[in-house]
Structure formats: C-alpha cells, structure tokens
C-alpha cells in the first residue's frame, strides 16, 4: 500500500520522497518544465512548473517540492496558469527572442510555452542588446548565444552531474548572471571536451550546433535511430536527416547503454561520411601499377576468377581473409561463411587481436 | 429526376461531361443553377472561362444571380416556363437553319415531331408565356447555335417543378439539336446538389433499380443479384420517397429505416409529413445529430461524420473519390456501414465486412461501370465512371460516338403551367433554394461559426417595389402564408428576385419554408415543385 495525495481532486499514489512533478506524471498529469533535468538535482530556477498546494502561502515549484501524505495539489487553476504565463513573459524579456533567426525554432520549450499561453505581444521590454554578452562563435562545433539564454542551468547540470566534465557553472550575479567556463574563457580555451551534452539539454536556442546551422529545420527532418559506429559502448543515437544528409546527431533518451549521453565522436564526428575521399567505384590495379575505376561486374568477375585459379593451383588454404570489427554482425557472419563454405578454408580472422 | 429525364433521352442519367471542360469551352448556358452559391467551385470555373478564356455565357434564370454579372445574355423567364423558353430557342434555331443537320440525321430520332411542336413557339408566343423579350430570345438562340462547343449546366431550378422531367428533356433537345452531346466541352450537365447524390443513385438506392441502374423488374438482372447476394429478391419495383411518406400515412408502410436524412425539414408540406410519420409503428434513424426526424424515431443510432470513416463519394461529374478517416468518432458512434451490418446480422442475414474497402470490392463485381475502380487506383486522383476494367482510364465525357440508348431521342414537349400560380388571395410567387453559406437542412452549416456569422437566419428576398407597396422595411419581420401553412422571417429587400416573386432558403428549422411549399409532384421524376407556389406576404 503506497501513500496517496490528492491531485486535481483525485486520490493519487506516490512513492515517498517523490517530487510533485514526477508523482503527477505517474498520475497522468503533465506539468510543463524548463529547468528540470531528469536525474539531476532540481534547481527550481525557472518557476514554470508552479502548482497550487492547499495551505501553502504561495505557488510551489512542482519539480522541487516533495509530496507529503494527503497533500492537495492543483495543476490547472487560473492562478497557476496566470503565474506560469507571467513567468514565460518574464523569461522572454530576459533576452531577445526572434524565432525567425533562431536555430531552435520548432524545437524550443520556451516557444512551445509562448504558443500554449497564446502570447501575441511582449508585455515587458526585452533586455537591451548592450546588456547582453556577445555571441560566442569561435569554435567549430558549438555556438553560444547569450541573448537567448534563460539561465535555467540545465547545461550546467548536464556538464557537472550527467557527464561530470565540470567545465561550466553559473557565474556572476543578478543582471550580470551568465553560464561560464572556468575563468569565463570561450569553450575552446576551457576544460570543455565538446561532448555537446549542454547543447542536447538546452531547452532554447542559446546553445546550438554550428554544423547544423542552415541544414534543416526540425519539421523538415527525419529521425533515424541507430548505434554509434565508434567505440564499443554502442551508444544509441538519432540521426537527424534531411535530403539524405545528416543535419545533426542526438542521443536517445531513456535507452541503455548511454541513457541520453554521447561523446564528441558520436555526436560530432560523422563528417567522414561526406568525405571527398570516399571510395565510389571498385578499383582494379592495372599492369602499370595504377588503379583504374571498374564496374561491379568486372570487379566481381575478376575476384571470382582469381580465387578459382588459386584454389585450383594451390588449394583453398592458400587463401585467407581478414574480416572487420566495425562491420555489422551480418557482414561478419557472411564473411566467415564465405571463407568456410565457398572457399573451403578456416583462414579467417579480424583485427580485434591487434 | 435528372436520371429519368436524361436516361429517356440519352440512355444514361448523369452529367455527360466534366467540370474542367467548362473552363475551356466556347459557350456555357446556365439555367436553373445559382452556381456560384450552390456549386461555388464550378461557379469559379465558369467565371474563369468568361474572364480568361473568352467563353460566352447565357444565363436563363428568374433571379438576378451572381453569374448574371458575367453573362453575355440574361433571359429572365417567369418561374415555371422553362419548356416554353427552350422551345422558343429551338424554334429560332430551326427556322433560321442553324442546327447541326448532319448530327440530327445521323445520331438522333424524333426530330420531325419536335420540329412540329416547336414551330408553335415563336419568339413572340414565348414572350407572352415567359416574359422573355423576343429579341433577346433570338439573340440567345443564335449565340448558342453559333458556338462550336456549347455546354448546358443546370440544377434544381430545372428539376424542382411539376414539369421537371420535361424541363430536363428540353435541355437535352437543345443540346442534341446543335450537335453538342458526345463532344468535349459540350453536353448536358446536371449539377447535383448533395455531395453523393450521384453515388446514392449509382449504388441503387432507388426503388426500381439495382446498382448501375439495372432494373429490378428484369429477370436476368434479378437472378444475377440473387446469386451474388444469396437471397431471394422481390421483382416488384418499390415506392419512391414521396410514395413512402404517403404509404406511411395510409398505413401501408409500417416501419421506416432512415440513414442520414432529415425528411422532416426537406419534404414539401411539412405539416403533412409529420402526421404521416407519426403513424409508423417503427422508425429507426441513424444520423450524426438528433435531427427533427430523429426526434420522432423509436430508435436513434449515432453515426460517424464523413471525417471519421473510410469510403468513397461520387461527385457530380461521375468521379469516384476517396473519403478518409482523420478523426476518432465521438462516444460510441459507428460508421453507417457498420451499423447496417450490425442490424443485418441480427436479422439473420450476415453482412460480415471488415472494411469499406471490402464492400467496394463487392460493388465492383455487381456494378459494371465501377468494375475498374479500386482504392489503390483512387489514391492519386478520382476516376470517372464508366470504368469497366482496371486498365480503363475512366470516362471524361459520355456518348462519344453513340448514345447509351443508340440514337438520341428528341421529345416534343408542350408548355404546362405550374401546379399553383399566384391569384387574388395568394398574390406572390415563392421560390425556394439554397444560399452560399448553408447547405441542405442546415444540420451541418448552422453548427459552424463562419457560415452562421455570415448568414445567421432565414431571410425573405423581396423586390423593392413590392416592399414599398406593402410598407415593408429591410430587416423587418414578415409573415409568409400559403394554402398549407405560414412562416415568419426577416425581409431582405433586393432586386435579385423579380417584382411579384419572393425567394426563401430551406436551411433553418426556425423558419421551415417547407410548411409553405406545394407537394405537387412531377409525374415521372416524383420531385416536388419547390420552385413555384403561391403565397401571401404581410408585415408580421
């Protein structure tokens, strides 16, 4: 028998220690959030998740308020929506936001909330351009645009608690507040290892991927789930693809083994796919020692003929194969089967021993 | 209606040509169709033809409809004098030798009889009957006959008369006389009012025919359907809608099953219909709303709206097109076909279809004109029947080298006046019809914000001269009375209707204009005379 509390008038179970946000979610009620990052210490910074708790003097942040037995929580009252809307308006005015030129357009929690709350005019004046830290656009991978930062702190949590790279933190105070690296250096001169986790979690357009700029908006993109081709961790990732080209790579949330994380290789190092040096046709070495391009038919005929010749002359064990540790399982299976069944040798190995 | 008139003449009762041909033809004759309001997208093509492609337009209509603005000639006949006007046009064409002699000789029959009758309808004689100036009539006749390709479009202004079938045949007479049937850009084109009237007819929702107009009285046909449906079938043609109502009143029909119709607002002489329906022992209605008819039922079944189910509609140009599900139905509502299957199963005649597509597959096997129509083929664009095989591209226009019945049949017709005309006591002529913003009995459009904003209530169109004489101001409530009943609505002073005529729509149950209309039927088409009845008008 678990404990219960009253959610919008309905008795709802919760596990002791659970925050209102999670308990409500289990009860089928979604509460909007901005700063909340699953699995990290709640900061209660954005105040978008406000709910009404009976007997409390003010509205409470659902992400950081633990449920108590019998607590009565209301998530949809006029007061709640009024307060949330006000906070959205304040967040909008804490920077400058024109989605026309923002790479997060269509994939922005702040924009979603502005739409949900039907905001048509900005009630408060936006921060003056002169009060905003200049955009950091020096490294090839990550763009930091402080005009859109809502100081939610998710990037800091991702860097410190999720990846434990400890490259960034909240810096300065009040109107000067800024997310900073050690010594407030640009990313590329700092401890940053470019895992890009901060970009992944930024709910707005303050941290964006430089290479993705201009390649496609979220609604134009197809997401394809796959496994990272680099190391043996086998991170689960989404390839964002438009017109047959990768726009960017993000991590799959809630899936083993990486649970929403990627490293610099998995996230950013897919460029080789588009290298000019990719092999595009079979090549056959001519008598003069030079390669020439050949058709598949020609190349396959040549290989088959040569294999047969060698088997006939020197027997099957005169042929050996090296398989590939980067290939898919199906390829490795086929390769060994080919050598054993077709050629008739067990001379098959791969480079894992090296 | 249209089916009867055109079937007798050509052997097939449907729009002969395609909507798109209108835009590129040489002349359009529009009669009894307020196209821009009732078929706005066809209206758009007619207007484009005139403005952008030099097409000539003749409008024959008692009301000054929007299309008049685009017309080269407008003939304003008195309501109910259409046969006379068409005879007059043919009189001029024959007298001046402007008709297509080769076509008439090679592809038609009955010309001599026609010639004899129309000879009496000189422009001057027609002017007396219809009020159309003789000179205008001559001009229109010459213009029509002079066009290489001319298309006639008509709608309920032609059919909703006691002479409806005759009216339809008159349009066909004129078209054949000038060799305009069986050619691209020509034809006789009834614009069907409701979205799937064509399909309902094609599918055999008619008392005398099975799908594809195969007669129930024909033994071979019936045997074929008995084999296909594994049931014994009746050889006796059934009752038409109006006859069903009458039979309900007389006790011959005891049970009535109504799918998605609201006869209690659409039938003429409503008061009477209500009494008839009350006599039924059992009435079952399936619909999306609790309509006036549903309120009288013993069982009401909630049905899906079109956006909640799969299927096909056939538009007015015989084009079969897909209907697709975009929404989940509310509550426990079901698609009409599922409901029929449910009832039939309980009656011991299993109809076990898993999907609309399965039904369509069965339709193809018993409906030759639909045999080549599959859901796969409809993915991209609809197909126009006849489409007899899966490799057939569909048929853009009918009767190309030969009429379905062989030779086209001219019918010599005399003018017969409407059943009820204005007199001392009921001095105004009432026509009913639709307006742009609403549809049929209004169950759908009166529940839509935009249309209601534009047209929130029923209006009585009154000519300024009449209004002044009766001391009626724009927007004032007026009472309209006929021999059958009375309704009240606001006056709308406009020159659209001629002096002495008023116009009302039938979309609103607050002002059910069918309390007034005359249930006199066309003897063949069994359609009531909605376009003419006599009323009196006074300030309320």
């Amino acid at each position: 028998m678990s404990d219960t509390f009253i959610l919008n008038g309905k008795e709802t179970p919760y596990t002791p220690g659970q925050m209102i946000l999670e308990a409500a979610k289990n009860g089928g009620i979604e509460i909007p959030t901005l700063c909340y990052l699953k699995g990290s210490t709640p900061t209660g910074a954005c105040r978008i998740c406000l709910v009404e708790v009976k007997g409390a003097r003010s509205l409470m942040a659902a992400c950081s308020t633990p449920v108590t037995p019998g607590m009565e929580v209301f998530t949809e009252t006029a007061l709640v929506h009024q307060a949330r809307k006000l906070n959205v308006e304040l967040l909008l005015s804490s920077g400058t936001h024109n989605c026309l030129v923002c790479e997060a357009n269509g994939n922005c929690r702040l924009q979603d909330l502005a739409y949900f709350y039907k905001i048509t005019d900005l009630r408060f004046e936006e921060k003056a351009a002169s009060d905003i830290y200049p955009k950091e656009d020096q490294n090839p991978l990550i763009v930091r645009d402080f005009s859109r930062c809502i100081l939610c702190g998710r990037c800091v949590q991702a860097c410190n608690e999720v990846m434990v790279n400890r490259a960034i933190s909240q810096g300065y105070r009040g109107k000067e507040s800024k997310i900073v690296t050690g010594g407030d250096l640009p990313y590329h001169e700092s401890e940053c290892v470019f895992c890009g986790q901060c970009v992944e979690v930024c709910p707005v357009g303050a941290l964006t991927e430089k290479k993705a700029k201009g390649l496609g908006r979220p609604w134009e993109i197809k997401k394809i789930r796959t496994t990272c081709p680099y190391c043996g961790v086998g991170c689960q990732q989404w390839l964002h693809v438009k017109d047959g080209k990768i726009v960017k790579v993000t991590a799959v949330e809630d899936a083993q083994p990486n649970q929403g994380r990627l490293c610099v290789k998995g996230r950013f190092a897919y460029d080789f796919i588009y290298s000019e040096e990719r092999l595009k046709t079979p090549l056959i070495r001519e008598a003069n020692g030079e390669f020439r391009e050949a058709s598949w038919d020609e190349a396959l005929d040549l290989v088959a003929e040569k294999f047969k010749e060698i088997i006939k002359k020197d027997g099957p064990d005169a042929i050996a194969g090296v398989s590939c540790a980067r290939s898919i399982n199906e390829d490795s299976y086929q390769m060994q089967k080919f050598f054993r069944a077709v050629i008739g040798t067990n001379n098959i190995d791969h480079c894992a021993r090296t | 209606m249209t089916v009867a008139g055109l079937a007798a003449t050509f052997g097939s009762g449907a729009m002969t040509n395609s909507i798109d041909e209108l835009e590129y033809t040489d002349l359009i004759l529009a009669t009894g169709t307020n196209t821009t309001e009732n078929h706005p997208v066809i209206g758009m093509k007619v207007k484009r033809a005139v403005r952008q492609h030099g097409t000539k337009l003749i409008v024959i209509d008692p009301r000054e409809i929007d299309l008049v603005k685009y017309a080269d000639i407008w003939l304003r006949q008195k309501p109910g004098t259409d046969v006379a006007v068409f005879n007059g046009l043919m009189n001029v064409i024959i007298a001046e030798g402007l008709y297509d002699k080769e076509y008439v000789a090679g592809r038609t029959e009955g010309f001599e009889a026609l010639k004899e009758v129309v000879a009496k309808y000189t422009p001057e004689a027609v002017e007396k009957i219809s009020g159309v100036p003789a000179e205008d009539l001559k001009k229109a006749a010459r213009l029509y006959a002079g066009a290489a390709r001319a298309s006639i479009i008509y709608a309920m202004g032609i059919t909703q008369h006691t002479t409806g079938t005759d009216n339809v045949k008159s349009t066909a007479n004129l078209a054949m006389l000038c060799g305009n049937v069986g050619i691209e850009g020509g034809g006789v084109n009834p614009l069907r009012g409701q979205n799937n009237v064509q399909g309902a007819c094609d599918m055999g929702a008619l008392p005398n025919v099975y799908p594809a107009y195969q007669p129930v009285a024909n033994d071979d046909v019936r045997k074929k359907f008995e084999a296909a449906w594994k049931a014994a079938l009746s050889a006796k043609p059934g009752l038409t809608l109006m006859e069903i109502m009458a039979a309900a009143g007389s006790g011959k029909v005891k049970a009535l099953y109504v799918m998605g119709e609201n006869p209690l607002l659409s039938d003429p002489d409503l008061q009477h219909v209500k009494k008839e329906l009350q006599k039924l022992e059992l009435m079952i209605v399936q619909d999306i709303f609790l309509t006036e008819t549903a309120q009288m039922a013993d069982v009401v079944l909630p049905a899906c709206a079109f956006a909640e189910k799969e299927g096909t509609f056939t538009n007015t140009e015989r084009r079969v097109q897909r209907v697709r599900k975009a929404l989940e139905p509310p509550g426990e509502a079901k698609a009409d076909w599922e409901i029929i299957c449910g009832i039939s199963g309980k009656m011991g005649y299993p109809m076990a279809y898993a999907s609309a597509r399965e039904i369509c597959e069965e339709v193809r096997t018993v409906t030759p004109s639909y045999a080549g129509i599959t859901y796969e083929r409809l993915e991209k664009e609809g197909l126009q029947w006849p489409c007899p095989t899966v490799s057939h591209a569909g048929t853009k226009f009918l009767h190309k080298d030969k009429f379905s019945r062989g030779l086209g049949l001219f019918t010599a017709l005399e003018h017969i006046p409407p059943n009820e005309l204005p007199d001392q006591e009921y001095p105004f002529l009432l026509s009913t019809g639709r307006v742009l913003y609403h549809y049929h009995t209004g169950t759908m459009t009166t529940r839509a914000r935009g249309p209601v904003e534009r047209c929130p209530e029923s209006l009585v169109e009154i000519h300024p001269e009449d209004a002044e004489r009766l001391g009626i101001a724009d927007g004032q409530k007026v009472k309209v009375t006929s021999r059958r009943g009375k309704v009240e609505a606001k006056a709308h002073i406009t020159e659209k209707s001629a002096p002495g005529s008023i116009f009302m729509n039938f979309h609103f149950n607050e002002a059910p204009v069918n309390f007034l209309t005359n249930p006199a039927l066309d003897p063949i088409g069994k359609i009531p005379e909605y376009k003419v009845c006599a009323v009196k008008l006074e300030a309320a």
Binding site: - | W229, M259, G260, E261, V299, A305, E308, N315
Partner: protein, 356 residues
C-alpha cells in the same frame, strides 16, 4: 508539337519547351530557384524579384519567373552574386515588415521565413521600419495583419484570377501600397465570400485562418486527404488535425481535378459541426410510443430493431418496410443499405432524398 530547345542552366544542358520560363525549365530539372510572388495558375507579375538569375549577355539580372527561355541561353542560378542579390531583396522585405515568428501563426509554414533560413540571414542591414496597420479580425474566419505583408500580390491574383471573386486589389501604389477590399474595408464589410483562397496562397502570416490560431503549429498537425461532404463538386480537401480536432481545411494544388486546390466557404469553414456537442454518442431507444429516449448499448439496440422489424415483416409482409438512404453517406454505405432492404428484408422500397 513544337521542337524542344536547349539551354544551359548551372553548366547543365537542359532541353525545354519553347515558351517555358527560365523558372519552369529549371524546376523541371530539379534546380531550385526561390520565388515569392510567383503562383501557379495566376499571371506572372515579377513583383518580388527573389527569383533573379544571371543570363549571359543580359544587361542585368533577370526575373526567372517572367523570362521565357531562348535557344542557347546560358543561365546561372546560384552564383555568389545572385545569392547576394536575393539576400538583399529578402532583407528589404524583412525590414519593411513586423516579423517576429515567436508570435506569428505562420511560423513553420512561412515562405519568407524559409528564405531567411535558406539564405542564412542573421539580421537585415536596413533599419526595421514597418507600417502600423491595425489588424482586421472582425470576422471569425480570416485574420489580416498587413504589417507582415510583403506585397507579393498573390492574394489579389488568387481572388481575381483563381476564384474570380474580384474583391481584392492594390490600393495606394508605391511605398504606401496595401492590399485589400475596396475602400480599405474589413473583409466582413466587403464583397468577400470567404472562400479563403487568399489565406491559402499568402506566403506569410499576413492573412491567416483565425480558427487555427493557437490550435497547433504546422509541424504538430496531421494531414488527411479526403472529399468535401457538402455539394456535388466533391472538392479534394486536406483536413489538418490535432488532438482529434480539425484545425484547418486546405485545398491542395497537387491533387488536380475537380477543384485544383480551391475551396468554397462551406468546405473551408463549415467543419465545426463534426466536433459539436450536439453530436449523438450513444444509441437511443424509445421503448413505447410517447415515452422518452433511453440510452442503450449497441447490442441492445440491434436486437430491439431486428426483433421489431421481423415482427412487422411477419405480420404485414416485406413491402410494409421502407428505407431512406442518404446522399450524404458513402457509396459503400448506400450499396449496403439497398442490399439490406432488398436482400435481408425483401423489398424494393428504398429511395433517398436526391429528388429534393
């Protein structure tokens, strides 16, 4: 059949029909040239000039939507100079309007936004100076915010050339130009018949569907192609839905006949009835005459009907039963309905309201 002619576009030899514009020839080849004022089925007016290309030996850049190809023409569509010219044009448009997509309903479906993105413009180099027109939102269907209007004239041509409703026109040529009905009236006070064509063709957020506002962003909507359920034209429509509600109804030029992407007020704005609270949701049975309806389960309703119909048939014969089919139901349903009366009941008493 006219002979094909050959031109060179971006170094590629292209054969095209004489009379085709450069734009058409390029698009047939899959070559992208941006456009804004160009709209199929309407005259080319060359108003926006974002479609400029370089033509060898021409004295200046050429608006590709209006220029016919000539044999041997050498055309370049994507040189840095062309991109710079396009950027300049788009920056001018942007700076002469009030564009913040955060609060614009067109966000995600806006052709101006697409171009800003495609040309990677961060900021216009001109000061933003836009007129301060008041909105036209005095009707429930169409909203106009001319501060976002780029004066492409598509709405004017759609109203006049596609729908031929002849309501919209340009007023005050030049820098104070404005589109709208005569006498600068709001739509509701004009001759507008609310076909919605202008809103459908407007490339920006200047003319939008009011009932769609805040009902869902373009990328959140599902699209289902179906056939309009009103008149016999049978227009092909796209229902845009979200959360089981219709957000908006659009025509689609790609579907061809019968409507080629155009709609009327009923098909466009007449769909509210579907989600109306008056909808029937449960079977209702009146057990005895004069009694009230009671809600029932489907099985109960079917059994009740079957039993009563069987009783009537037994006592009075099949011809004492009649059915009214519906011109509003599908072909499949009409087919089944008559099959039911003929096959299961044994009567030909079946008709529908087509006669009305």
């Amino acid at each position: 059949m006219d002979k094909k002619i050959t031109v060179t576009i971006d170094g590629q030899e292209v054969s095209a029909d004489p009379g085709q514009t450069i734009l058409e020839a390029a698009r047939n080849q899959g070559i992208y040239i941006p456009t804004l004022c160009h709209y199929s089925r309407t005259t080319n007016v060359g108003a926006c000039r974002v479609c400029v290309v370089e033509v060898e030996n021409a004295r200046s850049y050429v608006a590709s939507c209006c220029a016919p190809i000539t044999p041997g023409m050498v055309i370049r569509t994507n040189t840095p100079a062309i991109r710079a010219a396009q950027r300049m044009i788009v920056e001018l448009m942007w700076s002469s309007g009030d564009h913040n997509c955060l609060t614009c309903e067109q966000n995600g479906a806006c052709e101006l936004q697409d171009l800003v993105y495609r040309l990677q413009i961060d900021k216009p180099r001109f000061p933003i100076e836009h007129p301060a027109y008041g909105p036209d939102s005095t009707n429930t269907m169409i909203t106009r915010d001319l501060n976002k209007c780029i004066l492409c004239g598509r709405c004017v041509r759609a109203c006049n050339e596609i729908q031929v409703n002849e309501v919209l026109d340009f007023a005050n040529r030049g820098s104070y130009a404005k589109v709208g009905p005569a006498f600068d009236a709001d739509y509701i006070d004009s001759a507008c018949v609310f076909c919605g064509e202008c809103a459908q063709v407007c490339p920006t957020g200047a003319i939008t569907f009011k009932q769609a506002k805040f009902a869902g962003r373009p990328w959140e909507l599902a699209k289902t192609r179906t056939t309009c359920a009103y008149c016999g034209v049978g227009c092909q429509i796209d229902l845009y839905t979200k959360d089981n509600k219709i957000v908006k109804v659009m025509g689609n030029r790609e579907y061809g006949q019968p409507n080629e992407g155009s709609l009327c007020v009923k098909g466009r704005f007449g769909m509210d009835f579907i989600s109306h609270p008056d909808r029937l949701t449960k079977p209702l049975i009146r057990r005895r005459k004069g009694e009230d309806f009671q809600e029932a389960a489907w099985d109960e309703a079917y059994a009740f009907i079957a039993e009563r119909l069987a009783a009537v048939k037994k006592e009075y014969g099949p011809d004492s039963i009649a059915g009214l089919s519906s011109a509003r139901c599908t072909n499949e349903e009409n087919y089944l309905f008559q099959k039911f009366l003929r096959g299961a009941i044994g009567t030909n008493n079946v008709d529908h309201c087509a006669r009305l």
